[in-house]
């Protein structure tokens, strides 16, 4: 996992409440090897017109949008299917952080495992940010994970980034969670042998 400390970027605004992971990456692309890069599948259907051409009105298709590594999203972003491909698509497209009022739980966890930082910001603040970006499309935000702070443009202020300390530490250091868990293997094995003693049928 790529470590994340601080990211400053313009922001692309992705409209729609309950933007589910089927919208982020349609199911038919989930067969692809990760080596192919999942960025090409990001918002595949909703960024295209009915004639299958890139829709110039979709935020990520606007000139300069490729510079944005931060997305502003609406409530319950990433709900639905647990497909980690949704996070791969965002990460492979170059997205490093998301700002929104709430995220689907499984999506939120998947993001953290891949170094993509989901920042929860109150709905009214998200609304103010969207309005500001509408007037100043080149305005930048800074996601400072090291300082646990989101710095918004204009007079929108600074806001705490609330992510559990454990996940934050893993992302800051780009830690490999499996390797880290292996340092507790003695405790895992002791627990397991007790559990198997009382639940012999579990591993039959």
């Amino acid at each position: 996992m790529k470590a994340f400390t601080r990211e400053t970027s313009t922001v692309a605004v992705i409209p729609g409440v309950n933007c589910d992971t089927d919208q982020i990456i349609p199911g038919r692309f989930l067969k692809a090897d990760r080596a192919q890069g999942y960025g090409q599948f990001l918002f595949h259907d909703i960024r295209r017109t009915d004639a299958h051409e890139l829709d110039p009105a979709f935020p990520l298709n606007r000139p300069g949008a490729e510079r944005s590594t931060v997305l502003l999203v609406e409530d319950n972003f990433g709900c639905g299917s647990s497909r980690e491909g949704a996070v791969y698509a965002l990460v492979d497209h170059g997205i490093r952080a998301l700002i929104g009022p709430s995220f689907g739980d499984i999506f939120f966890n998947n993001a953290l495992k891949n170094g993509l930082v989901p920042v929860r910001l109150a709905a009214d603040q998200c609304q103010s940010l969207a309005e500001h970006l509408n007037r100043f499309p080149d305005a930048e935000v800074t996601v400072d994970l090291a300082a646990s702070e989101l710095i918004l443009p204009g007079n929108l202020g600074r806001h705490p980034i609330i992510i559990d300390a454990f996940a934050r530490e893993c992302i800051l250091q780009g830690l490999d969670e499996i390797e880290m868990t292996f340092t507790y293997m003695d405790k895992i094995k002791a627990f397991e042998s007790d559990r198997m003693a009382s639940h012999a049928w579990l591993a039959r």
């Binding site: 409209p15 089927d22 067969k31 409530d75 639905g80 499984i106 495992k113």
Partner: protein
């Protein structure tokens, strides 16, 4: 109940918050190829293969039981890769020709893999289904899946608790599916975010395990982490004698432990929702989120009637996608297709409910039934249900996720309108441009007969 099962599985708590939970059983499907690639890169194998169960469901053909029957070579490759990974990892595997094959969340309870008091994960959001037996069961991603395969553990923050109490009785023609659509319409698709739901009340106590599985299945559509029902005599009777359950010698001890897991009478929940079963009508969705659900007697809402500006925008967009005008009566809305299947509604009771409506009648539009497992399929054939479906003009298919996930080539065409017993009416979920109306199996059967959304109580 959540606290008791959680504490029993907590190996340690990290100073920064999350618990390292022991995972009793991990279910895997074809999507696990990312996790296997990760293990191979690390030179690791699954650490506890006997606690892992593999079943092919998302990509499997429903017309034929070999990967060569798959809709495309790329889809066949997914099934073959899965078989190879199962072999490589030494994992117990219910492949296409196994009698135990089916949709993972139908197979797991059926085989006794899902049991009260266990922690169960699967890289599928509908793993919440399995909490119906009194387990902590939740969906994970492939990074977490690799972690479970490698360590048999997972780091998790304990969710908050929400009790949904459904009092009274359900009316004629009203099912667990309708209860969930009514609940999600009330609290919203994000309504239970960060919470574990425990379902309680007379309606739940009276409900079969199959109905409870439907309740817990759709908990994720309200954004809940888990859905759970306290184990009771109905649960124990269901579990006894299943393949991977405790044997006769172990039974009494297991049941007495399971009884101790139920929530205490004075247990406190972070949130309480109370519903009355008799207030719930047969439900149908009109939009592109499961929260867009109304009684079949209602009309398509006017976007202007919603309070939040975001929701007004979303409703306008979804009505445009669904090609529906505000004020249109839901009953009578013309359909192109009917799908009965998915981990929500493809168990034997679901098929019985649909067949009871179809008996002696004919579908007037194309309709398919995809049983949740090969065992369900065989049982339905023995009971004569398959003949009823066939006589009514339904296609009788082999088991798999089929037209719910629309990954195996079974899709609803662009612009087509489908009454579906699945769980998601998202834009493009059943295929690009497909329009989905979520309903119960009996409602789907009624819709097939009339070729339009129909109140099953009138049949």
């Amino acid at each position: 109940m959540l606290g008791k099962i959680w504490d029993e599985h907590e190996i340690l708590r990290h100073p920064s918050g999350p618990s390292l939970l022991y995972i009793d059983r991990d279910m895997i499907h074809e999507g696990s190829f990312h996790a296997f690639a990760d293990l191979k890169r690390r030179g690791m194998k699954p650490r506890r293969p006997k606690q892992i169960f593999g079943v092919a469901d998302h990509y499997v053909p429903t017309l034929g039981r070999t990967s060569s029957a798959a809709a495309s070579p790329a889809i066949a490759h997914m099934i073959d890769t899965f078989d190879e990974n199962m072999e490589w990892g030494g994992v117990r595997h219910f492949g296409l020709t196994s009698r135990a094959q089916g949709i993972v969340h139908v197979v797991a309870p059926e085989q006794g893999i899902t049991l009260p008091g266990l922690t169960i994960v699967c890289s599928d959001s509908h793993t919440s289904t399995q909490g119906a037996l009194g387990a902590i069961a939740f969906g994970i991603g492939q990074s977490e899946n690799a972690h479970v395969l490698a360590t048999q553990t997972i780091w998790q923050l304990r969710p908050k608790t929400m009790r949904v109490t459904i009092n009274g009785r359900l009316g004629h023609g009203v099912t667990a599916k309708d209860v969930m659509l009514a609940l999600i319409a009330r609290i919203g698709a994000a309504g239970a975010g960060g919470h574990a739901i425990e379902f309680a009340g007379q309606v739940v106590r009276d409900m079969s395990i199959e109905g409870r599985l439907t309740l817990c299945n759709m908990s994720i559509e309200a954004a809940a982490r888990f859905g759970m029902v306290a184990p009771d005599e109905t649960t124990f009777a269901y579990v006894r004698g299943r393949n991977y359950a405790p044997n006769d010698g172990e039974w009494e001890g297991a049941v007495s432990h399971w009884r101790s897991l139920v929530s205490d009478a004075d247990a406190e929940f972070d949130r309480e929702i109370v519903m009355d079963g008799s207030d719930i009508a047969p439900m149908v969705t009109w939009g592109t989120s499961p929260e867009d659900a109304l009684s079949i007697e209602d009309r398509v809402p006017d976007p202007a009637s919603f309070e939040s500006a975001d929701k007004r925008k979303a409703v306008e967009k979804s009505l445009d996608y669904m090609e529906l005008a505000p004020g249109t009566a839901l009953s009578g809305l013309k359909l192109d297709k009917v799908f009965i299947g998915s981990c929500t509604n493809s168990r034997i009771e679901d098929l019985r409910a649909a067949a009871a409506i179809l008996k002696g009648r004919k579908a007037t539009i194309p309709a398919i039934v995809v049983p949740g497992s090969t065992q369900v399929k065989e049982q339905a054939e023995r009971e004569g249900l398959a003949a009823i479906f066939r006589d009514a003009g339904f296609e009788w298919r082999d088991s798999g996720c089929s037209m719910c996930a629309a990954m195996n080539g079974d899709v609803v065409g662009p612009g087509e309108r489908c009454a579906s017993t699945s769980n998601r009416n998202f834009v493009g979920r059943q295929g690009p441009g497909a329009r989905t109306h979520l309903v119960s199996p009996a409602m789907a059967a009624a819709a097939a007969i009339h070729g339009c959304l129909t109140d099953v109580r009138r049949i």
